[in-house]
């Protein structure tokens, strides 16, 4: 502790003074506990804690997602984390909304407590900003992850799908995996019924989509024939299919898949842009204020001016009364004078 800290000195001083005054120090301690935290504070700090823990999760996710290698890819972990974070974010969002509602409902009860209101509004705003920054970070990580997966896919394509001529020979080698395409659902999407890839030519014989099943491709996931494209946060999911015995169809499907994918990612990005917009709007408000913006002073001055005016009015009224009195007395005297004379 540096010399700056004088808390102990203060408390020692207070202690000795209170002993001198025979105030039992236990009474002092009792005093303190009366400050029960209000519902609002408790809820707010709870949310803050949750945001913090989410951020911690996000951090570990970031580290995982940044790994670019094909072999040290741990999809299970990543997916679990993304799921958890997603759930967290929605939960926190709901809680904040609840808190806001609670705060609004409190307002009419305490019309006088403007500063309390300001405080709680600011708490909520800061929570929201924090959540917003967390989720935008989350989104950017997901984007990164998607990008990585794309890269991986293109790299994998180089090995798994050599020029079309050798399609038949390679088919044999891949038959094992090729038979069981295991779609990976992008975990962060809202679970929704998977749509079969439209425009699928009838020639694709094998049951390609094990619908809705979230079986993680445990066996040989790193080079399975089905390639997962991580969707954008907006609830997209893509499946890409590679069918080794029909290259033409494959190419067709691939191109369709890419088209859909790009459209979807565009939509997701747009969604993100909108959310960013709202964030910018909310931030604009307090960006460049300095604390000595003299609003407070002005308010103070207005109040004191009002008081002065009120005082003046009072005096004026007093004067008026006095005037009437004096006038009345004069009249009485005048009457007396008239009567006497």
């Amino acid at each position: 502790m540096t010399i700056r800290d004088r808390t102990t000195e203060f408390h020692a001083c207070a202690e000795s003074l209170s002993q001198r005054n025979n105030v039992a120090s236990s009474a002092l301690l009792g005093q303190h506990s009366q400050h029960a935290k209000s519902e609002f504070t408790k809820a707010a700090s709870q949310i803050a804690r949750e945001i913090n823990s989410t951020m911690a999760k996000l951090h570990s996710l970031t580290q995982l997602a940044k790994k670019k290698t094909l072999f040290d890819d741990r999809p299970t972990e990543i997916n679990d984390l993304t799921l958890a974070i997603k759930a967290d974010i929605t939960k926190i969002n709901r809680q904040i909304a609840l808190l806001q509602q609670h705060q609004r409902s409190q307002q009419p009860q305490q019309p006088a407590a403007k500063q309390i209101q300001e405080h709680s509004t600011n708490v909520i705003t800061s929570l929201q900003t924090k959540l917003a920054s967390t989720s935008s970070e989350f989104k950017s990580i997901l984007e990164l992850r998607t990008q990585n997966m794309k890269d991986q896919k293109s790299r994998r394509d180089q090995y798994t799908a050599p020029p079309t001529a050798s399609a038949s020979s390679s088919a044999a080698g891949y038959s094992l995996q090729g038979q069981q395409p295991t779609p990976q659902q992008s975990p962060f999407s809202i679970p929704q019924p998977q749509q079969p890839m439209f425009g699928l030519p009838p020639s694709t014989s094998s049951p390609l989509f094990s619908d809705g099943l979230r079986n993680r491709s445990t066996a040989g996931s790193s080079d399975s024939a089905v390639i997962d494209m991580g969707g954008m946060g907006g609830g997209s999911q893509q499946q890409l299919l590679m069918q080794s015995n029909n290259t033409a169809t494959l190419e067709y499907i691939e191109s369709r898949g890419q088209a859909i994918e790009s459209i979807e990612s565009t939509i997701a990005e747009l969604g993100q842009i909108y959310s960013q917009f709202t964030q910018i709007l909310s931030q604009q408000r307090e960006m460049v204020q300095r604390i000595d913006v003299n609003v407070m002073d002005t308010e103070m001055n207005v109040v004191s001016a009002h008081n002065e005016l009120a005082k003046f009015l009072e005096r004026l009224q007093g004067n008026r009364w006095l005037m009437i009195q004096v006038f009345g007395i004069l009249v009485v005297f005048f009457m007396l004078f008239v009567i006497i004379s």
């Binding site: 700056r4 800290d5 504070t41 996000l58 500063q115 960013q276 307090e286 103070m300």
Partner: protein, 640 residues
């Protein structure tokens, strides 16, 4: 060593986090992380929401360091002055940042008694005397609230950092108080005591013990002695846990150079030509805030502009001569427009050919990320546009360019030019007054009958004679160093009038861009009158002293020297032997007792940037005072 401003900011942030040093470190490292690889390290320190309560002094300090949104980041939800009607906000801790005065302490005790907040973190801008601490304790015991006081801290922060290397103590009228024969010893003692307290804060905030140098036998010397004593006492009393971190061996300690205003009065009165000095002198820059009154449809509108520490334009141009700044405003606006165009072009679609499902959203996203930065830039440029326009107006009205040109070569002016200027009806009395005082201070011998003629001319111009009387008396017993400043400033005028075409082009350019920036287009008429002058390089007396001390040349040997760290047995006088001190200094804190201005600050920064080795010079003064304010102080002194 971080800059003074940064050090103070860190201290304030730590204070907002209940003096928890880890929070600051964590925030810093998080910030660093962002710079390196994008996503943030999670902040594990839980934010506690609190309210901030400050008095005037605390407000001035914080307002220079943190914006409202930064306060929010540190968990401050509501911030209020101490002396307002504050309503109770239960279950929220409150951070107080106030001066240690009896009234403030009483007010805090009242707050405690009223049970306004959950807990109280009391921070005082400087040392809280024991007596006041006891008062506070007594009051809290009386209201049974002493447990709620969670912290009592002395912050040693009672100075105001205006820029990274500029600080002010924000006193008032110090020069007058210190030089007035009518001031009682008590007043002078009081001022010195406060200066010493603040300087101690500066040194403590930096966390290093400086070597103190000062001239002999004036206010600065007495402050130096007291400061030395103060630091010694502090080290003595607090052995190992004092405010100063032990510097690593080999690290050079800064030198604290205390100067007295009487050393150089002329530079306080000079007309100036660089951006920051003009803004300060003409627009009365105060605590980094400028208020401009403009007339709009007969109504007077006050516009406020804040100059931010991160203002790129200000940082770049504050030391540049004004015409160059005006030019730069223009080029910055062009650059801004270009960037905006680029963004619009890339994100907006001009034809259907451009519809590209893959890249379209990317660019839109890019546009959105670029948007906040662009609006920020626009706001800054708008502000400087406004400032520049107003400066143009004033310069043109008062013909300041002529004054500046003459003062640049003040040593060479003869009687006729001076008289001519003094008789010029177009120029204002204040400017004439300043010009003449500079002339008077810069010329050692002025013949008696010339002087009489000047005085008649001055009186005719309606200039009061108080300041001149005072300066006469000062000059008679203080050897003015100012005279030598002007040596070698030949070519100051350098017929700069010929470069009017530079302004002409500027005018044309600016006329087109102004409409966008929301400034009236009648600017060209102002600019045409203002000539393009470039100040010649010259060092002010203060800069020359600083230079000789930092370089360790023999010019400054007669300056007193104190080393608070050295053991007392050596004795102060022995240490002054120059042989021990000849080593140069890499960083210096220059403090002028009795008022300083941006001109000296600029000059010192120019010096610091000049050498091969980067030097650091931090400049401070009891107050940053405009020429007008200083003239008023002189006037009062002379009329006694």
């Amino acid at each position: 060593m971080a800059s003074l401003r940064q050090a103070q900011k860190d201290a304030v942030i730590a204070m907002l986090n209940f003096n928890n040093k880890d929070a600051v470190i964590q925030k810093k490292s998080a910030g660093l992380d962002v710079a390196i690889d994008g996503p943030k390290v999670p902040q594990l320190v839980e934010t506690v929401w609190k309210v901030l309560v400050y008095d005037k002094a605390g407000q001035d300090i914080i307002s220079q360091l943190l914006k409202v949104n930064e306060l929010r980041e540190n968990g401050v939800t509501v911030h209020m002055p101490l002396y307002t009607d504050r309503q109770p906000i239960p279950d929220v801790p409150a951070v107080y940042f106030v001066q240690p005065t009896p009234e403030n302490v009483k007010r805090i005790a009242d707050d405690l008694a009223k049970n306004l907040y959950e807990s109280y973190y009391l921070n005082f801008t400087s040392h809280l005397p024991r007596a006041l601490l006891e008062d506070l304790a007594a009051a809290t015991v009386a209201s049974n609230t002493s447990v709620q006081v969670s912290q009592v801290y002395d912050q040693y922060l009672n100075f105001i950092s205006l820029e990274d290397r500029l600080f002010s103590l924000n006193f008032d009228q110090t020069y007058r108080l210190l030089n007035d024969a009518g001031s009682t010893d008590r007043v002078i003692d009081d001022v010195t005591e406060r200066v010493v307290g603040s300087l101690f804060s500066v040194v403590a905030t930096l966390g290093v013990i400086p070597i103190i140098r000062c001239p002999r036998g004036n206010a600065a010397a007495s402050i130096a002695t007291k400061l030395d004593q103060r630091i010694r006492d502090h080290i003595m009393n607090s052995r190992n846990n004092n405010l100063f971190s032990e510097p690593a061996t080999g690290a050079t300690r800064p030198v604290l150079i205390l100067l007295d205003r009487n050393l150089d009065l002329a530079s306080m009165l000079n007309h100036t030509w660089t951006y920051s000095t003009l803004v300060h002198d003409l627009l009365d820059l105060k605590l980094n805030r400028v208020v401009i009154e403009t007339e709009d449809k007969g109504r007077k509108i006050k516009k406020q502009f804040d100059i931010d520490a991160n203002d790129f334009f200000w940082n770049k141009n504050s030391g540049n001569p004004f015409p160059q700044v005006a030019d730069d405003v223009n080029s910055e606006i062009t650059r801004y427009k270009k960037d905006v165009d680029e963004v619009t072009k890339s994100s907006g679609l001009t034809s259907l050919e451009d519809v590209d499902p893959n890249s379209n959203a990317e660019t839109l996203k890019y546009a959105l990320t670029a948007l906040p930065e662009l609006t920020d830039r626009k706001r800054t440029l708008d502000m400087h546009m406004n400032l520049a326009t107003t400066l143009f107006q004033i310069i043109n009205e008062r013909k300041l360019d002529a004054f500046f040109a003459l003062e640049e070569a003040i040593g060479k002016q003869n009687k006729t030019t001076v008289l001519e200027l003094l008789r010029d009806a177009e120029k204002s009395a204040e400017d004439k007054h300043r010009f003449f005082l500079v002339f008077y201070l810069s010329n050692d011998e002025i013949p008696k009958d010339d002087m009489a003629a000047y005085e008649v001319a001055l009186a005719a111009a309606g200039v009061p004679n108080g300041a001149l009387n005072y300066l006469k008396s000062v000059k008679s017993f203080i050897k003015m160093a100012a005279a030598s400043t002007v040596a070698g400033t030949a070519g100051g005028q350098k017929d700069a009038m010929g470069s009017g075409d530079l302004f002409g082009s500027f005018r044309n350019k600016i006329a087109g861009t102004l409409d966008g920036a929301g400034v009236g287009s009648s600017l060209d008429s102002f600019i045409s009158g203002v000539r393009n002058l470039l100040p010649t390089r010259k060092d002010l007396p203060s800069t020359r002293i600083v230079e000789s001390i930092m370089e360790g040349t023999s010019d400054a040997d007669d300056y007193l020297s104190f080393d608070p760290k050295a053991s007392r047995t050596l004795g102060k006088q022995q240490q002054t032997s120059p042989s021990k001190l000849v080593k140069g200094h890499q960083s210096a804190i220059v403090f002028v007792v009795g008022g300083g201005n941006y001109l000296e600050y600029q000059n010192l920064q120019d010096y610091a940037a000049r050498g091969a080795q980067k030097k650091r010079v931090t400049y401070g003064s009891t107050e940053i005072v405009t020429a007008k304010g200083f003239l008023e102080q002189l006037e009062v002194l002379g009329s006694r």
